[in-house]
């Protein structure tokens, strides 16, 4: 029983690390982008532009965020 519980915890931890990693905003932004893509596609808009734009914005924001969370105040100021 303990072994099963331990396996389940490990399984959950793996998927948490895989999807959330060290920046939860990446997964949240991708989910938002895909939802927006689906909505725009229903309205016959060119929905394919959404995800590339999300990637460009999220990459920059995630780099900035990783520096902030590691206490790189000086780097942030200089940027």
């Amino acid at each position: 029983m303990m072994r099963v519980a331990s396996w389940l915890v490990g399984f959950g931890r793996f998927w948490y690390r895989f999807i959330i990693g060290d920046d939860w905003t990446v997964a949240a932004s991708v989910a938002f982008g895909l939802t927006l893509t689906a909505l725009l596609n229903r309205g016959q808009f060119p929905a394919w532009v959404v995800i590339p734009l999300v990637v460009i914005v999220v990459l920059r924001a995630s780099i900035q965020r990783s520096k902030r969370t590691k206490g790189h105040a000086g780097v942030k100021r200089a940027g």
Binding site: F18, L34, L59, S62
Partner: protein, 258 residues
């Protein structure tokens, strides 16, 4: 439109099926091999190849069970889920790759013993490598199977179509095996940037396609996405390398690395 009957007519009917199935399957096989080689070189080969092998076994079972009814399987939800997961994971690697290359630059690209890497060094299975490789093989393998079934069944030439699809997988797989030796010499930080770019590109393409959105230019859009993300990464590296950034980034890299 059955042309069987004379030898020339038979060849005339089979040739387009062979070429179409081979080329279309090759495109999917390249995507599959790119992911497997990239993940293997970055995380280690054992778990990556294990994931690929299990992916092929599941694929074989699916093909055996469904046979010609394979085209009835809804691929869109599969594309959406796998694409979204690759996109999320690829973006994380892309960020780490950008930060590391910005800190170390492209000069002196030897692998440093003290360099932080994503390489799996523990005894058990590296589930990250396993899952990435498994998903790549399963999704792309299914697409190859769909191509083979649709091209073969439509033309009434399933045998040649299957042979062509299998040949495409073998040829592209062999090229990937040869290239993996060269890929292994690339420094990990740079490799992580490249694999992050590829996973983000394929993830964007599949997830969006899974929502029923058509890309302008079809599969060619993959190259456009790759170019766009490469440009984005280069700009971010340039921004990070300006002024005092690099010194501080180098000093604090271990914090960002994992």
């Amino acid at each position: 439109m059955c042309l069987a009957g004379s030898g020339d007519a038979g060849v005339t009917a089979i040739l387009p099926v062979l070429i179409t199935a081979f080329l279309a399957s090759s495109v999917e096989a390249i995507e599959m091999v790119t992911i497997v080689v990239g993940v293997g070189a970055t995380r280690g080969w054992r778990s990556t190849l294990l994931g690929a092998a299990v992916g092929f076994v599941v694929l074989a079972v699916v093909v055996a069970v469904f046979g010609l009814a394979l085209s009835a399987i809804p691929i869109a939800p599969l594309r959406l889920v796998i694409g979204a997961l690759l996109l999320v994971f690829g973006l994380q690697w892309l960020r780490k790759g950008v930060v590391r290359v910005a800190a170390r630059g492209f000069a002196g690209m030897q692998v440093d013993a003290n360099q932080e890497t994503e390489m799996w060094t523990e005894k058990g299975v590296d589930w990250t490598a396993f899952v990435l490789s498994f998903k790549g093989v399963l999704l792309e393998g299914l697409e190859v199977a769909f191509i083979v079934v649709s091209v073969g069944a439509t033309a009434g030439q399933l045998g040649p179509a299957v042979a062509s699809g299998a040949a495409a997988l073998l040829v592209v797989g062999a090229i990937g095996a040869v290239l993996s030796r060269f890929v292994a010499r690339i420094p990990r930080s740079f490799l992580q940037l490249v694999v992050g770019l590829l996973l983000t590109t394929f993830g964007s393409f599949w997830a969006t396609e899974g929502l029923g959105v058509s890309w302008p230019g079809g599969d060619v859009a993959i190259l456009g996405l790759l170019a766009l993300y490469l440009l984005t990464a280069v700009i971010n590296i340039a921004v990070e390398r300006r002024g005092p950034h690099r010194v501080r980034l180098t000093g604090n890299l271990s914090g960002v690395a994992r």
